[in-house]
């Protein structure tokens, strides 16, 4: 049984494609067997006849008339179908305007925006080299976030960059601030006259945030990739960046942050940097300050101190420790449970914490142990004092980075809560662009839940890394954690001091 419903709109024009689409949509309505929505052309009249939709009232229609013909299983559905067609005809079509055009190649993008000057690359490592080469060949500076790029390739690419006088920041470079613009994982930092070069992402984030806190500012903050100061890469980018800052009239002080360079690289650095006619503060995590001083540079003992020294040189005024030893001692509480557990999203913060606490604790386990610390046999199970970098490859395979996604760290937090020997848990909250919008909130919810479930209350200590201009609202982040009893500090070293105060008294 089938029923026809025919509507004619005389002297109406719609283009055939729109009408076909309306026809398709009506065909999907329940009970509709066939539909023709079209102008009264010979072709459409044939279709109507072929589909048994023609009716006597259609005799005499012209190509200027619109026909809506619906064949359905009953009268009601035929009527509904025809009404749907009418509705679609009168409805305003809101076109889905897709986002700006994204070209499928770097070359295409370069052609479309000739004024571009920085290419930020985070494609899989084995494809990254080609893209970097294309960028450099077209005169663009490169920030290479990708890792899994071989040392050989890194050297090739940096040599190409040096030939062209371009920056090749990386591989594995997650933080750079150029002309006040935070790229990838970076903070909003005031402009000033301190130029920073770092072979360390969170190291760069902490020093620049603290420079801001101390009331000073930066010209540029250039990440060079974690391997730049290794023996083979021999500081190629560090030296180029430092020289560029040396030649930059806006930069008055240079700050260098890194893990200790290979000995040959350190020598090369010192000779190259000596020629720069500006004060240079150097923080090589765990290095010998005396040696640096003898080389003619200003050594720092920790990230906060590095920022402070740079600011002192910039402003000419003394910068005191953010949280005094006295204040820290006052906050010290008694620890139940023997061990310290550190859950870090920032590799450099994890490193610095290990080094600061090794003399005090004697034995520390980690997935990324510093010299003197021990490697965990199972990175997912803490032993004794354990301080881990959750941002390391071993933890992030197939998962999002802990600065973006708190899930992995919260899982580990729950394990530590369940472990009666864990007396204190440390963690970092890294703010800034690229990072989670409310890490403090996520961590505080997790802490409240863990306390409830395990009925335990280990000491909780957090370092909030960021500035008051970061998108996450620094003050709110502090509040969310402090109001549930977490000891909140503004720098990694103050956390280390707090741990010392709790365990053995602060010196």
């Amino acid at each position: 049984m089938s029923v026809k419903k025919i509507l004619v709109r005389k002297s109406t024009y719609f283009d055939s494609v729109s009408l076909m689409r309306i026809g398709e949509a009506v065909k999907k309505e329940s009970g509709v067997l066939n539909v023709v929505v079209g102008m009264g052309t010979d072709f459409n009249i044939d279709s109507l006849k072929r589909l048994d939709l023609f009716a006597p009232e259609l005799n005499g229609i012209t190509p200027n008339d619109l026909v809506i013909a619906v064949l359905a299983d009953n009268a009601e559905n035929a009527q509904k179908g025809a009404e749907k067609a009418e509705k679609l005809l009168t409805e305003r079509v809101i076109s889905k305007v897709s986002a700006d055009y994204s070209p499928p190649t770097l070359k295409g993008a370069i052609e479309l925006d000739a004024l571009s000057n920085v290419v930020l690359i985070s494609v899989p490592g084995r494809f990254a080299g080609r893209e970097v080469r294309t960028a450099l060949e077209n005169g663009k500076h490169v920030m290479l976030f990708s890792d899994n790029v071989s040392v050989e390739e890194e050297i090739e690419l940096k040599d190409e960059a040096l030939r062209r006088g371009l920056l090749m920041m990386g591989p594995d470079c997650g933080t750079t601030i150029l002309n006040g613009v935070p790229l990838a994982f970076s903070n909003v930092v005031r402009r000033g006259d301190i130029g920073v070069v770092a072979a360390s992402g969170t190291g760069l984030q902490e020093v620049t945030s603290l420079i801001h806190r101390f009331g000073c500012g930066i010209t540029q903050a250039i990440g060079v990739g974690g391997r730049d100061l290794s023996e083979r890469v021999s500081g190629r980018m560090t030296i180029l960046a430092a020289k560029a800052l040396g030649a930059d009239p806006a930069t008055k002080v240079i700050l260098l942050v890194s893990k200790p360079p290979a000995p040959s690289t350190e020598e090369l650095l010192c000779s190259e940097l000596k020629s720069l006619d500006k004060p240079i503060v150097i923080y090589f995590i765990g290095a010998d300050s005396a040696k640096i001083k003898n080389a003619g540079f200003e050594p720092a003992d920790n990230l906060e101190n590095a920022a402070a020294k740079a600011c002192e040189l910039s402003s000419g005024t003394e910068i005191i420790q953010i949280v005094s030893n006295e204040e820290i001692s006052k906050k010290a509480v008694k620890m139940q449970g023997r061990f310290i557990r550190g859950l870090y999203s920032g590799g450099t913060l994890c490193d610095e914490m290990q080094r600061q606490l090794l003399p005090l604790l004697g034995t520390i386990y980690s997935n990324t142990p510093v010299p003197g610390a021990k490697k965990l046999s199972d990175i997912h199970r803490s032993e004794g004092h354990t301080i881990i970098d959750l941002g390391d490859d071993d933890f992030t395979r197939g998962r999002a980075h802990p600065m973006i996604d708190p899930t992995a760290r919260i899982e580990r937090l729950q394990s530590e809560f369940a472990d009666a020997s864990a007396g204190m848990i440390l963690f970092d909250v890294v703010l800034g662009y690229g990072s989670h919008p409310d890490m403090a909130g996520a961590m505080s919810d997790a802490i409240v839940k863990a306390r409830k479930e395990t009925n335990r209350n280990p000491i909780l200590v957090a370092n909030i890394l960021g500035t008051d201009e970061d998108p996450q609202n620094y003050g709110e982040q502090v509040k969310k954690l402090s109001e549930i009893g977490v000891h909140v500090f503004p720098s990694n070293i103050s956390v280390a001091r707090f741990v010392s105060a709790v365990i053995g008294g602060l010196r």
Partner: protein, 66 residues
Amino acid sequence: MKEASLENITKLFNSEIRVINLGIPIFADELKKQNVKVMSVDWRPPAGGNEKTMNLLDRIRAKKKV
């Protein structure tokens, strides 16, 4: 290695930062939030990840300029 010229970097330090992003889309989104000019590349592995094709292309490219 001869001394690298600092001209291009100095130029960068005095220009509007304009970014081309290849890879993680968040990076481009974050830049847009700051009103930084950024163009995203709809990146895909070259030659659809086909190694044979890549090798042929590399052979040809090596002979491109005689």
